[in-house]
């Protein structure tokens, strides 16, 4: 048995041990620490509610209760595991990718640890163990998805600093805590090797909040195509305002703007890019609107990548975004529908549209049945439109 299989096995044994005797006990790391249900912080896990968002912004301390917190050494072990798996059906037409796939799949294992190291110093780590592909198990690159330390309330709630690997300005729409399996297309779109808002990055971020206003500014390594000896050049800034009480997650109307400036090298070499560093930029507007147990998430983003990154004769300007409506009539069900689009200039002609619909049904706070269907179309220069159909029914478990 390989190490990853061992790990998987152990995870599953632990899971059944924890789950079987007492149904309905919701217990991931934070919930365990406080004795709370997951719904204290999640409207529908993994999405955070307003309380959870405040908890996160406060370096994993209950809002306003910094003096009463216990550190990781004083509480139960601060570990949690997230596991998902189920039936996946995927088919692609006119695509260089894999054509058809239909099988039961284990799709992901995350090990999380988070907590408080000392008053106002929190940390968050997500580790993805490496998993080899085998029939029934999807390959997973072993990686440290996030690992950061946050120093909060440096004089006031207007200055908090997070250092390490994190999601840049994730208070817009977190790609790690979204409802759907399918990605936010516009965040991942860009020249080959370009990373902006699609994934976690390494760097330092300062944030602050109060009276409905919030900001985040960060300084990051940027894309993988930069070389090890390239000094970090990527910066971003975000500002948002919430109208009405709340954080815009399930209460209040949140409006935000974001800007990202970075540099990377062209080329898709395994390790490094080739050639000189070139500029890229993103500017976006987002809104998270709440009414009647529903949330409307809107993102509009304009991007510009230097021509040398794409190998075109002009800089590539694209725009895109998404609109997602989710409805949560009670704590145990959420339905969502999203439209993603990306408009590209004719010389690269890679326009994307994607329709996604799905629902999550929570048997208990920390076990959801996830069903999702998504249809994607992408233009290809000098080739017929590539289409993809994705459908999945999975169990998503965190404990």
């Amino acid at each position: 048995m390989t190490r990853t299989r061992m790990l998987l096995m152990m995870g599953i044994v632990a899971m059944s041990g924890a789950m079987l005797p007492q149904s309905g006990e919701a217990i991931p790391a934070f919930a365990r620490k406080y004795g709370y249900n997951c719904t204290m912080c999640h409207s529908s896990f993994p999405r955070l509610n307003d309380y959870g968002e405040r908890y996160r912004q406060n370096a994993y301390q209950l809002p306003g209760r910094e003096n009463e917190e216990k550190t990781v050494l004083e509480g139960p072990p601060p570990f949690a595991v997230r596991l998902s798996g189920g039936y996946t059906s995927y088919s692609a037409q006119n695509s260089p990718d894999i054509q058809e796939q239909e099988e039961f799949l284990m799709n992901g294992v995350d090990v999380l640890s988070s907590g408080l190291l000392a008053p106002n110093i929190g940390y968050f780590v997500t580790l993805l163990p490496q998993i080899d592909e085998s029939r029934g198990v999807e390959a997973q690159d072993g990686t440290l998805e996030s690992g950061n330390v946050m120093f909060s309330n440096l004089g006031s709630p207007w200055l908090n600093v997070r250092v390490g690997r994190m999601e840049p300005a994730s208070s817009a729409f977190s790609v790690k805590r979204k409802l759907s399996i399918t990605p936010y297309e516009v965040y991942s779109f860009g020249a080959p090797g370009v990373a902006t808002l699609a994934d976690t990055q390494d760097g330092i971020e300062a944030t602050g909040h109060g009276r409905g206003l919030a900001y985040a500014v960060g300084y990051l390594n940027g894309s993988e195509n930069n070389r090890a000896d390239d000094a970090p050049q990527d910066v971003y800034a975000r500002a948002s305002v919430v109208l009405g009480a709340g954080e815009g997650q399930t209460a209040g109307q949140r409006l935000g703007v974001i800007g990202y400036l970075g540099q990377t090298r062209p080329g898709t070499d395994e390790a490094d890019g080739t050639g000189d560093r070139q500029d890229l930029s993103r500017v976006g507007f987002d809104a998270s609107l709440n009414a009647m147990h529903s949330n409307l998430a809107l993102q509009y983003l304009v991007g510009e990548d230097d021509q040398l990154l794409w190998g075109t004769t002009e800089d590539v300007e694209f725009s895109g975004g998404f609109a997602e409506l989710s409805v949560m009539p009670c704590t145990w069900i959420v339905g969502f529908g999203r439209f993603d689009w990306v408009d590209t200039p004719s010389d690269i002609d890679q326009d994307i549209t994607r329709w996604t619909g799905g629902a999550r049904y929570y048997f208990v706070d920390n076990l959801a049945l996830h069903v999702e269907y998504s249809h994607r179309r992408q233009h290809q220069p000098d080739a017929p439109v590539a289409t993809e159909d994705f459908a999945a029914a999975r169990l998503d478990l965190a404990f």
Partner: protein, 349 residues
């Protein structure tokens, strides 16, 4: 399918079977059964002291015009609390606070909504010389009691002295320590009787400890963190009552009030420190709006997006926190001494 994949699926199926049905209120052990009542070392419980305290509790002669006793505002028949939003003391003067229940006060670290008294002993004398509650002076109360032979004997018996302010406080406190709640549907549920709470109350428990964020503050066996929070109650006016700030003088304590226990809360309407909400469902609507916006609002207060049904479930859960509590009539009170005219009439309420 590989053997590995097979195992995974069998396990997942087992998990599913094990958790059939939705979250049946997760066990937050923090809200466990009540511990024994804490008793201060310098005021041990004795039967004679409790008997004296009970008489004093029902004693209208502790008030200036001999009409108001502790039991007038903390009436055993209405859950040891009052049913009007704020209280009417001597001469029909109306206060600005809702009288909490004294059931389980023995467990609280702080007394009064703003926590201005630390112990029951410290608290007991407050109402007597509060001008709009019982409006008496402590010296005069001591004089009145010592003029009543029955009381003088009881004080001698318990403390070996005549009536003193200290003795009055200790006796009343000792009596109050016997007014604690007994088994409730919730405590029987905790002890393993899964039928003790209705399905609505069980759903309410999960909400209480999750989407409603209630257990962030209403935690522990008493359903109180023994802390002070600003929910915005009464903060909509130009110069609101300072609440806890009046005691500590800290700006951050403006509008903060003690988290009350929720044991027996269902029998102590109206609610909140100013009695501004009539029913528990009204209180839930107040929370669902996220309280009243004000600069010092507790950051844990947020609009909750609860549905009507979820609010009803929360109320059902709070109703399941109603335990038995002692119900009693006023005991026979020692008659006035025929020699003393100033003490007025004795007797029951």
């Amino acid at each position: 399918m590989s053997r590995m994949g097979m195992c995974v699926w069998v396990m997942l199926a087992l998990v599913l079977a094990g958790s059939a049905g939705r979250a049946s209120g997760s066990g937050f052990l923090a809200n466990g059964p009540l511990p024994p009542v804490p008793v201060p070392a310098d005021n041990p419980q004795t039967d004679a002291k409790i008997r004296l305290g009970r008489a004093l509790y029902f004693e209208p002669r502790l008030s200036a015009d001999n009409t108001i006793s502790c039991a007038t505002c903390h009436n055993p028949k209405t859950g040891w609390a009052n049913i009007t939003p704020t209280d009417t003391g001597i001469g029909k003067q109306v206060g600005d606070r809702n009288s909490g229940t004294i059931v389980n006060s023995a467990y609280m670290q702080f007394q009064f909504w703003d926590g201005r008294a630390g112990s029951l002993e410290e608290q007991a004398l407050g109402p007597i010389h509060n001008p709009i509650e019982m409006g008496e002076t402590l010296d005069n109360v001591v004089r009145k009691l010592n003029a009543i032979p029955g009381y003088r004997d009881m004080f001698q018996d318990v403390f070996g002295t005549d009536a003193t302010t200290d003795g009055i406080a200790k006796a009343i406190a000792a009596f109050e320590r016997t007014i604690v709640s007994g088994p409730s549907p919730y405590s029987r549920y905790l002890a393993g009787d899964r039928e003790a709470m209705s399905p609505a109350a069980v759903r309410g428990q999960a909400l209480f400890n999750g989407k409603g964020h209630c257990s962030a503050c209403h935690s522990g066996p008493l359903f109180s963190d023994q802390g002070f929070h600003n929910l915005g109650v009464g903060m909509q006016v130009a110069s609101p009552n300072p609440g806890r700030q009046k005691v500590t003088n800290k700006p951050g304590d403006l509008g903060r009030y003690k988290t009350p226990t929720l044991l027996n809360v269902a029998v102590t309407a109206p609610f909140l420190h100013d009695g501004s909400e009539k029913t528990l469902l009204d209180v839930m609507m107040f929370y669902n709006r996220g309280g009243v916006p004000n600069p010092n609002l507790d950051p844990q207060m947020l609009p909750l997006a609860l549905t009507k049904k979820e609010m009803q479930d929360l109320v059902a859960f709070m109703e399941a926190l109603t335990g038995t509590y002692p119900v009693m009539e006023a005991p026979p009170l020692p008659p006035d001494s025929p020699a003393s005219a100033e003490t007025g009439k004795g007797g029951a309420l």
